[in-house]
């Protein structure tokens, strides 16, 4: 029986799709049969982040209308055969599907997969309710910014109201230097405010954009990047393994800090 997990955030642009792509790929690398469902109908992006956009023939909507079987719509990743994607339709809107239909799609996959990750659209309207409907667990993605944390708090309330009890927090785009300079909330700050268990912390890094440009999730890199490693660790925690959180402060050395050290010596650190 599959674990069905929705990746959600409320606010757009905080990294839901990036998280879905990387966690999905990581779980598949751990040996789990993993299915990713893009629930963002009309604004699908998960196919792009996975580099599978040219292989989309059928979408969830054709499965529902009976134009194709679910197996025909699923795209199997050639780099990692444990991973499949069920793409969303791009030329329709979020009202073209309802919660029961989403539930039906999940029920078609449930018996054959270990993990089903649902990439939720931004907002808290129809698309959100469709995406969280079949889920038993949720990962709430936020950045350490005021608007993202406020929206995350609202979403946590809605998830609880809809009977999803297992909710974990992923803090994305953390900038350790800014935290140190007291200009960004720390992970502990965000965790204290939202009061749900932490599953991952991903540092801000240019390589995230590079990986989306190429359509290759970070966790596929042979020489793993810091955010890639952080995603792998998150997947391991999801799998129930005990993995310590990375000391991101230690990894980050800004050019400004080096310059300051040069002039003032290290005693001021």
């Amino acid at each position: 029986m599959a674990r069905i997990i929705v990746i959600t955030s409320g606010k757009g642009g905080v990294g839901k799709t990036t998280t879905t792509a990387n966690l999905g790929m990581s779980l598949a690398q751990l040996g789990y049969q993993t299915a990713l469902i893009d629930a963002d109908i009309g604004l699908r992006n998960l196919d792009l982040l996975l580099g599978l956009e040219n292989r989309v023939i059928y979408t969830a909507l054709e499965v529902l209308s009976g134009e194709c079987r679910i197996e025909q719509a699923l795209i199997r990743d050639k780099r990692q055969p444990g991973l499949v994607l069920l793409p969303a339709a791009q030329n329709r809107n979020k009202d073209s599907i309802n919660t029961e239909q989403m539930q039906y799609l999940v029920s078609l996959l449930e018996s054959q997969y270990d993990y089903i990750l649902i990439d939720c659209p931004a907002g808290i309207e129809t698309g959100f309710h469709n995406a969280i409907g079949p889920a038993k667990e949720a990962i709430v993605v936020t950045t350490p910014e005021i608007a993202a944390v406020r929206d995350a708090d609202r979403v946590i309330g809605l998830l609880e109201a809809n009977g999803i009890k297992q909710i974990t927090l992923l803090v994305n785009r953390l900038r350790p230097q800014m935290v140190k300079a007291n200009d960004m909330m720390s992970v502990a700050d965000v965790k204290e405010i939202l009061a749900i268990p932490l599953i991952g912390v991903i540092p801000e890094d240019e390589c995230v954009i590079v990986s989306t440009n190429r359509g290759e999730p970070l966790v596929l890199d042979k020489k793993i990047s810091l955010p890639g490693l952080a995603f792998e660790h998150t997947a391991c925690r999801l799998d129930g393994q005990q993995v310590d959180f990375l000391d991101l402060q230690a990894y980050s050395k800004s050019p400004l800090k080096r310059l300051r050290k040069f002039f003032l010596g290290s005693n001021n650190n």
Binding site: E145, I146, V149, R150, D153, R154, G157, V179, A181, N182, D183, M184, M185, S186, D189, I193, L256, L259, R260, F263, L264
Partner: protein
């Protein structure tokens, strides 16, 4: 003096982290306190059941509302008592 100049250039003591935490906590306290009509009605009924175990209320003039100003949210209940139930009635 040169050291002072660089200190001023590189050391930022202002820190907006406390500001964001303070603003966020305030706004969330407000967000979290919003109750929808059905929840309020449910709560009203439950409170009345409990209170009615001990006193007889004037059901005509009950008041029950949520008031929010910029700093806090309060549940305002005005439950006029007609009669206090005696021990043997409890």
């Amino acid at each position: 003096m040169i050291t002072e100049f660089f200190e001023r250039l590189f050391v930022n003591n202002t820190g907006s982290r406390d500001d964001v935490k303070r603003r966020l906590k305030l706004v969330l306290a407000h967000d979290r306190s919003t109750l929808n009509a059905s929840t309020l009605e449910k709560m009203r009924k439950e409170i009345l059941v409990v209170v009615s175990k001990y006193v007889e209320l004037d059901t005509e003039s009950l008041e029950f509302s949520i008031k929010t100003d910029s700093r806090m949210t309060a549940l305002i209940a005005n439950l006029p008592i007609r009669r206090i139930l005696q021990n043997e009635e409890l």
